[in-house]
């Protein structure tokens, strides 16, 4: 399923941006969680709680699953004001729990739920976000393995460079994957959502290269990057294919 990335071709790429605002959500996460805890991935255990999405009309929020609730919650915290804001919604696994339920129903010979199917697609959160805000701004939905957030940020930065917008809302949300997929679980398999309103600037610099060693970081890229958002000066993240260095104020 995973197509190998030509890391050599990407080796010289770096990404610079500034953070206009940001927000993170995880079960039990304190608002003043220090940067080191994000970098180490030592967040509270999953208590099954759901983030608040009461800002959405009841008819829009009624069927949302946890991944979408998390995405829309942090998107609203980072960009609460109405108005048009181009956005990128990223997720490694998307609505995997919902898709798994649909597949299990099909295997039992049941008719799939049309409503559940409509919310299982990868841009479902982006769609609900656009409807709720009445915002026709351009929107993408990205899934790119454990680097999904990196490519979402690159997408955002490219759009700013093209001059069509001065800011882009980047949202990444993943729930823990369902038990059926545990043999394929990533090192960091915990619910976490991060939203960043990205603008032009040099606050943050990310550089990446092929992960030459077999070292994989305990925290996912979104959790690690939240550490940079929370004030850490430096981030070293090792994923399944890439290693990323992040610097603040470089």
């Amino acid at each position: 399923m995973d197509t190998p990335i030509d890391c050599a071709a990407l080796a010289d790429l770096a990404l610079r941006f500034s953070i206009r605002s940001w927000a993170a959500w995880a079960p039990g996460l304190a608002a003043d969680t220090p940067a080191v805890e994000f970098l180490a991935g030592t967040l509270p255990d999953d208590d099954g709680s759901l983030p608040d999405v009461d800002f959405l009309p009841a008819m829009l929020r009624r069927r949302l699953g946890r991944t979408a609730r998390m995405a829309l919650h942090v998107a609203h915290l980072a960009a609460p004001e109405p108005g048009s804001l181009p956005n990128v919604f990223a997720s490694r696994h998307g609505e995997l729990r919902r898709t798994t339920d649909l597949l299990q129903g099909l295997a039992r010979g049941e008719l799939p739920s049309p409503a559940s199917f409509s919310l299982s697609v990868h841009n479902a959160s982006a769609g609900i976000h656009a409807i709720a805000r009445n915002d026709p701004a351009p929107s993408s939905a990205i899934a790119a393995g454990d680097e999904s957030l990196l490519w979402a940020l690159l997408d955002a930065r490219q759009r700013i460079e093209q001059g069509t917008t001065d800011a882009v809302l980047v949202v990444h949300s993943d729930d823990a994957i369902p038990s059926q997929y545990l043999p394929f679980a990533p090192v960091c398999n915990r619910p976490f959502a991060l939203a960043i309103v990205v603008e032009a600037g040099d606050d943050i610099a990310l550089e990446w290269r092929a992960n030459g060693g077999d070292r994989v970081s305990p925290a996912s890229l979104p959790i690690s990057l939240a550490g940079l958002c929370a004030g850490a000066n430096r981030l070293e993240w090792h994923g399944e294919r890439l290693s990323i260095t992040g610097l603040r104020g470089a």
């Binding site: 009841a58 739920s113 049309p114 409503a115």
Partner: protein
């Protein structure tokens, strides 16, 4: 017919996960879509599947009268009752 209408109202609240609506809040003859209860096109599909599961309702998607059948709880109850009567006759 009243019991059937009540069962349909309960099904609508359950299947469509209406948070702020109780079955008894739904008027038998109020429109389900648009201005009435405010359901959308995905709800129409979801409701069709739920009615099929619970009442064995069969729907032909090319039936021009389908919009009229889905207008309200009352019209749905009459459709289900007529199909059940037809099955008894067979």
């Amino acid at each position: 017919m009243h019991a059937l209408e009540a069962a349909i109202k309960e099904l609508i609240v359950d299947a469509l996960q209406l948070e702020d609506v109780r079955p008894e809040d739904i008027e038998t003859n109020e429109p389900l879509f648009g201005d009435g209860l405010g359901l959308d096109s995905i709800d129409a599909l979801e409701l069709g599947v739920a009615l099929k599961k619970q009442f064995g309702l069969t729907l032909a998607t090319n039936d021009p009268a389908i919009k009229d059948h889905f207008r309200s709880v009352g019209t749905l109850a009459r459709l289900i009752a007529s199909q059940q009567d037809a099955k008894v006759c067979q």
